[in-house]
């Protein structure tokens, strides 16, 4: 037990120590060995540029795939399917679980309306609203009201209240989702529906699934022989309020959508993110979402991965779910909100100690696979935390602190021009981002002026500035907290929908 605690702390310290070791090391070496730091910066810049080019290429592939699959009538495809392992389209129930905190009526209503507009048979859909008890009376009353409005439109509509302070739980979304899933199980069992026939989608309260989402999900579920060893990940876009959000927030959320699109092309590294779906049987088998971790979306993947000894994958689905951009009316509150949201995402680094502790006991997972996956988590969080710092703050240090002799060396002289040239090459990827942004944009609401389209394009030229402010710092913050054992609490990103006049 004591040993376990030691290892857990060790694995908690590793990511932060690596990040801080890199930053402090480079800072110190900028004084004593400026040439080494200059070489490191150039190698890193080149690595970053080629990585950007590579990832942008993957983004183009993912976008092409998304565009190609947009016109598919998935329901029709499902109907044409032959039974697989005795499973037929007609068997599949879609359960949609919304863990609710204090999200307003208008937010939840839009999400439920999106389900109504879906082309999946509503008599095969179960909706669960799991409301946090600690959120107070109003969300609960809202949920009851929504239940009255929508209960006759689906196969079943469950409204439940997640009690506060259940043993073993901390105040996280995963605990609420788990409670909701248990209520769903009670219902499913009462109707003697096989768990294998239920696909559960855990959606943020603001998630609006596109029309074909559930058809696409059902098709992938039926055709996948490893359906119970897979999660199903849509592409999250932030279209709900994108026209009314601040530029800085738009850039960050679009970048996160792009990153998810890129990840769909890297299946071996793919991990569930935000709203996702999975077999209800699998969820019950692994014991639901973790109730003591903030990043429940990725943690459930790792829980399944460990449970099935590494035989677990995420199936990318080229359909979108639309969510809200975390934004406020003024710029500073928007930055603060984005910072907190990104820090919560970066807290996904808690998966590293969780996975490493799991790997210690999981003897059936091949060592090479363990190393590769642990490296993937570490590399992802490490580069997230250090890249903007290296490119913007470390790069000029040799020139600032290297002294006159360093500035007289060829590398001292060439460092700014080489860095600038590589930066210009990386900026060329912006044109791809702009193109895909324009393509993914929802129709302009009538209360938004047409010239805002131009801002949607020009905003990308501020992205290096945004990257400096909100690129690395939330990740460094999260890793430092984990390293110091100052664990984060779940902070809900408040969602306020713009209501046109």
């Amino acid at each position: 037990m004591k040993r376990d605690r030691f290892y857990r702390r060790l694995f908690e310290i590793v990511p932060g120590a690596l990040t801080w070791g890199t930053i402090i090391g480079l800072f110190v070496f900028a004084f004593i060995r400026p040439v080494w730091v200059a070489i490191f910066v150039i190698v890193f810049d080149l690595f970053w540029v080629t990585r950007m080019l590579y990832l942008t290429t993957l983004l183009v592939f993912a976008y092409r795939r998304l565009a190609r699959e947009k016109g598919i009538n998935w329901i029709k495809r499902c109907e044409e399917l032959k039974p697989a392992d005795g499973l037929r389209y007609a068997h599949i129930y879609q359960a949609v679980l919304f863990p609710v905190y204090k999200e307003g009526m208008e937010v939840l209503k839009a999400s439920l309306d999106a389900l109504i507009h879906s082309n999946y048979p509503k008599d095969k859909m179960i909706v669960v609203l799991s409301v946090e008890e600690r959120a107070g009376a109003e969300p609960w009353e809202n949920a009851i009201h929504l239940s009255d409005l929508y209960k006759n439109k689906f196969f079943h509509f469950i409204v439940t209240r997640h009690p506060d302070n259940l043993p073993g739980e901390i105040k996280v979304k995963g605990a609420n989702a788990t409670w909701g899933a248990k209520m769903l199980r009670d219902f499913v069992d009462s109707r003697k529906i096989e768990h294998n026939h239920v696909v559960i989608s855990c959606f943020d309260a603001d998630t609006c699934a596109e029309r074909e989402y559930f058809g696409c999900l059902a098709w992938h579920y039926i055709t996948n022989p490893d359906r119970n060893r897979s999660s199903y990940q849509p592409i999250p876009v932030y279209n709900n309020n994108i026209w009314h959000a601040r530029s800085i927030a738009r850039i960050l959320e679009l970048a996160s959508s792009f990153m998810q699109m890129i990840e769909t092309m890297r299946v071996e590294k793919f991990v569930t993110f935000s709203s996702h779906s999975m077999s209800f049987k699998t969820l019950v088998d692994v014991g639901y979402w973790p109730v003591d971790m903030i990043s429940d979306d990725s943690a459930i993947y790792w829980k399944c991965f460990l449970h099935f000894n590494g035989h677990y994958t995420v199936i990318p689905m080229y359909v979108t779910v639309s969510m809200d951009v975390a934004t406020e009316k003024a710029i500073i509150p928007t930055i603060v909100k984005q910072y907190k949201q990104k820090r919560r995402w970066a807290w996904g680094v808690e998966n590293f100690p969780y996975v490493m502790m799991g790997f210690r006991k999981a003897n059936k997972i091949p060592l090479l696979q363990k190393i590769r996956r642990a490296f993937n988590i570490l590399e992802c969080h490490y580069t997230w935390a250090v890249w903007a710092v290296i490119v913007t703050f470390i790069a000029p240090l040799p020139l600032l602190f290297g002294g006159g002799l360093f500035r007289q060396t060829t590398i001292g002289y060439n460092l700014p021009s080489v860095s600038a040239a590589l930066f210009r090459v990386s900026m060329s990827t912006l044109f791809i981002f702009i193109f895909i942004t324009v393509k993914l944009l929802p129709p302009r609401p009538p209360d938004v002026k047409p010239q805002k389209r131009i801002i949607m394009i020009l905003q990308w030229f501020f992205s290096p500035l945004v990257a400096v402010v909100l690129g690395s710092t939330p990740a460094i913050d999260a890793q430092t907290r984990l390293m110091l054992g100052k664990y984060m609490k779940f902070q809900v990103t408040s969602k306020h929908r713009h209501v046109p006049k």
């Binding site: 070489i39 190698v43 092309m265």
Partner: protein
């Protein structure tokens, strides 16, 4: 993932990897100052020369060979050694120097100033000029045998200020007053002042400028300075330092001798901003004329006004004289 996507992704990945691995030695060797000789499979150290000039856009010859770029420019991948660098631009004197290129180092010929070859001179004013003075506010004053004239710096908008033409033959110095409303000039024994804005105070039809002799020194004048306010001048002669008050009437002008030299000064300097006069003088009682000290006299605010007020009050001859 569809297999076609898998293949495309593999192609993208390996292309990126190849690009990275191929560019890494090229970028690093370039940044570090190494040159790769692909034919001989050899790497050698180089240095570079950086040349910038004012004005920019000059041609650079390295060991007699013209370089493509104009200044500011850099010549890279130079083998260590000595290079003859010449910077040339038409209409300017060429610049050249032997420069030592060291391995992995930058040799700079930075901010070279190219001096223009003298162009054909342009005549500003054609009249017979005895002397001239140029003010800080961009005017030229001509002291000619036909009178006093004023023009812009290019000789334009010439205007006659006075018909006065009795200019001394050997003017030693000329100085504009701090308020730019007067110009003093002096020869060995006399100090003259031109009131440049006299026209403002005179009835219509009068000359714009008024010229007058303000002081005649019994001893050789070393230098003359303006005191702030344009109403006093300090005349440093071989025997003493006198302060002369300027009033409209040349008669009844207050003159005070504020210091008497033990021997004629070798140097005088007046710091206008600080109001300090520096001068050399022999120590009192010293035998040798070479045994001089440097003194300073702080002429604080209102020094002369107070002095003159005292003079009027006492109306005595204690070192002050009246003319």
């Amino acid at each position: 993932m569809k297999s076609i996507d898998k293949i495309m992704r593999a192609i993208a990945f390996y292309t990126a990897l190849v690009i990275f691995l191929a560019l890494l030695p090229i970028v690093l060797s370039y940044a570090l100052g190494y040159k790769i000789d692909y034919k001989k499979f050899k790497i050698y150290k180089t240095g570079l020369i950086y040349v910038s000039s004012h004005p920019a856009g000059a041609s650079v010859y390295i060991n007699g060979k013209l370089h493509n770029e104009l200044t500011p420019m850099r010549m890279e991948e130079l083998k260590p050694g000595t290079y003859k660098v010449e910077v040339r631009r038409e209409g300017f004197y060429p610049w050249e120097r032997e420069m030592e290129v060291r391995p992995n180092m930058v040799t700079k010929a930075d901010r070279i100033i190219l001096f223009p070859i003298a162009q054909e001179m342009q005549k500003v004013a054609a009249s017979e000029i005895a002397d001239f003075a140029i003010s800080e506010n961009g005017k030229i004053y001509y002291l000619t045998r036909y009178g006093l004239f004023k023009s812009d710096l290019d000789g334009g908008t010439l205007k006659k200020l006075s018909g006065y033409s009795e200019w001394p033959k050997n003017i030693i110095g000329k100085k504009f007053s701090p308020e730019m409303d007067k110009l003093l000039y002096f020869d060995k024994y006399k100090v003259f002042v031109i009131q440049l804005d006299a026209g403002k105070t005179q009835p219509k039809g009068g000359e714009p400028a008024k010229i007058g002799e303000v002081f005649v020194s019994p001893d050789l004048i070393v230098d003359v300075f303006w005191y702030p306010g344009s109403n006093y001048i300090m005349v440093v002669s071989e025997s003493d330092i006198k302060v002369v008050e300027l009033r409209d009437g040349a008669l009844n002008r207050n003159i005070a001798s504020i210091y008497k030299f033990n021997s004629s000064p070798q140097g005088v300097y007046y710091n206008e901003d600080a109001g300090i006069l520096y001068f050399t003088d022999k120590k009192s009682g010293a035998l040798s004329n070479e045994d001089r000290c440097l003194y300073k006299l702080e002429l604080k605010d209102n020094f002369f006004e107070n002095m003159m007020r005292m003079l009027v009050k006492k109306d005595t001859d204690n070192g002050y004289e009246k003319r």
